[in-house]
Symmetry: C2
Subunit: 308 residues, 2 copies
């Protein structure tokens, strides 16, 4: 008889998450810790903490370009610690169950399709909005096995250099890192803002939450930063709508907390830019699984691909 | 027994093409004329000129956003004459065979997959480079039924306004129209160039061929125009590589004649921008069906979708 559980791992950005997930898509047990320096040791530990004999396999979602056949991460501008790590080989040696690896935004898309906001859509794009910006594409009900690195498409051909090698990447204008970088730069130039008091002068400790809170209290620098990032996000959303004519764009990730300013500005901008006929029918909605989309989708990978 | 032929129509840009195509993908008979003002009357005429009793159906590839179910063109920034025309209904009333409609770059992609440069690839992007820039996506061997309007993705968020409503579209920087517009603008400002002699002072009659010829003869304005358009094309190619991690990018359309400057510059720029690991494995190659990809693919639509 088929084993009833899978372990989903999400090694996406600032946190490492793992969960024991049932075939019905329910999370039985979960664990979260800050993204580790020594990736494999941490993975062993979190997997052991949720492991049972009824585990059919382990799915790993990880930020960056993934070599599905080789079972490793080829390139990860935002999480260099995972580059070149042979996840599948190492995890299989330790746990003797089938191991699957996918890009983190791709597994989040799979999670939303299986158990979340994507259930009712056959064609949608998921964007993860956090430190970086990731993408996952679902077409005709299935995850499209492509890189989907929407955050690393240029929206300003002659713009800022990105660590990925490209210039003017969406991520450089619309991600949490972009917002922090704008805030730090303005504060260092002496801008008047509530943000000055946020972290005792150590601007590098600013978080997107600080910016959002100050914006809600009327701080004009904070509002401007969120609006600008939102506007650029709207450029990226319009681009992907014009390419993929999706039924929905599902937004996930830590920046969703700033929905009222950041995402609303993005929707306004996208509405001005995308083909009207495509924008009129697309739904731009938040993820319903939130931070758990990744672990659910990673576990879903196992059930989808494994027969054990 | 199944009928042995289909008629493929390509209403893509400056020309209307129609062809009688066999189930083996061979063109039996073809016709070409300038894109008409009265679209339906011209379609009736060209179809009648290649029609036989052995025609299983008619496939139409047309520039713009296509409503496949409704059988009409929703929006066509480059060919307004086709907007709102109920192609499928009108053609079916006249010819009593199944009629299929698709975006022109999508049928070109289908044509290349069936009989051309895409035969050996399961995942590729086709870009049509002409007056405008169109896109078609083949994934796992099949045409992806999406808008694929790569030419209308913004590569300069705050750039030039495009007739489609977006700002900074790839097409505004890398298409034939963009090249002509750059040339006219420079010549009107009095730039020194061989192009001045091309059309007896009527700069609006300039063609991409004029620019390419002058460039080959060493004209520096012409070279600069081709290089700049190529560089922006490279931005667009890198973007689509980072999203779709294709095995190939197949380039089609009238601008391929300028391969040595325009496309080579695009390849150089894309190589600087796309994820190295993706660029290293992608093949950037010319269409092998050339101007006939559209009619072949449009006929292919019939064989793919029809059982008669």
């Amino acid at each position: 008889m088929s084993k009833h559980y899978a372990i989903g791992i999400d090694l996406g950005g600032t946190n490492l998450r793992a969960a024991l997930v049932s075939r019905e898509g329910n999370i039985i047990k979960k664990i979260k810790e800050p993204s580790p320096g020594d990736v494999l040791e941490s993975l062993y530990r979190v997997v052991e903490s949720v492991y049972t004999d009824e585990v059919a396999g382990i799915g790993i979602g990880v930020a960056g370009l993934v070599d599905r056949k080789g079972g490793a991460v080829i390139s990860s501008p935002n999480l260099p610690a995972v580059e070149g790590v042979s996840f599948v080989e190492a995890m299989h040696a330790r746990f003797s169950v089938p191991i699957f690896i996918e890009n983190d935004a791709n597994v989040a898309a799979l999670g939303e399709k299986w158990m979340g906001a994507g259930k009712e859509f056959d064609n949608f794009i998921l964007l993860t909005l956090g430190t970086g910006i990731g993408g996952g594409i679902v077409y005709e009900g299935n995850l499209v096995n492509v890189s989907a690195e929407v955050g690393h498409t240029s929206i300003n051909a002659d713009g800022e250099k990105c660590p990925c090698g490209n210039t003017g990447c969406l991520e450089s204008y619309a991600s949490a890192r972009a917002m922090i970088s704008r805030a730090v730069s303005a504060l260092e130039k002496g801008a008047e803002s509530m943000l000055k008091e946020c972290c005792k002068g150590n601007f590098y400790k600013l978080t997107p939450e600080d910016i959002y809170k100050s914006a809600l209290e009327g701080d004009s620098l904070a509002r401007e930063i969120l609006r600008e990032a939102g506007r650029y996000l709207g450029v990226g959303i319009a681009n992907i709508i014009n390419i993929m004519s999706p039924e929905a764009v599902i937004l996930a990730g830590g920046l969703l907390g700033a929905w009222n300013i950041y995402v609303q500005e993005a929707m306004r901008e996208a509405s001005r830019r995308a083909f009207k006929e495509l924008f009129d029918v697309v739904k731009i909605i938040p993820s319903s699984l939130g931070d758990e989309a990744g672990v659910v989708g990673a576990a879903g990978l196992v059930f989808k691909n494994s027969t054990s």
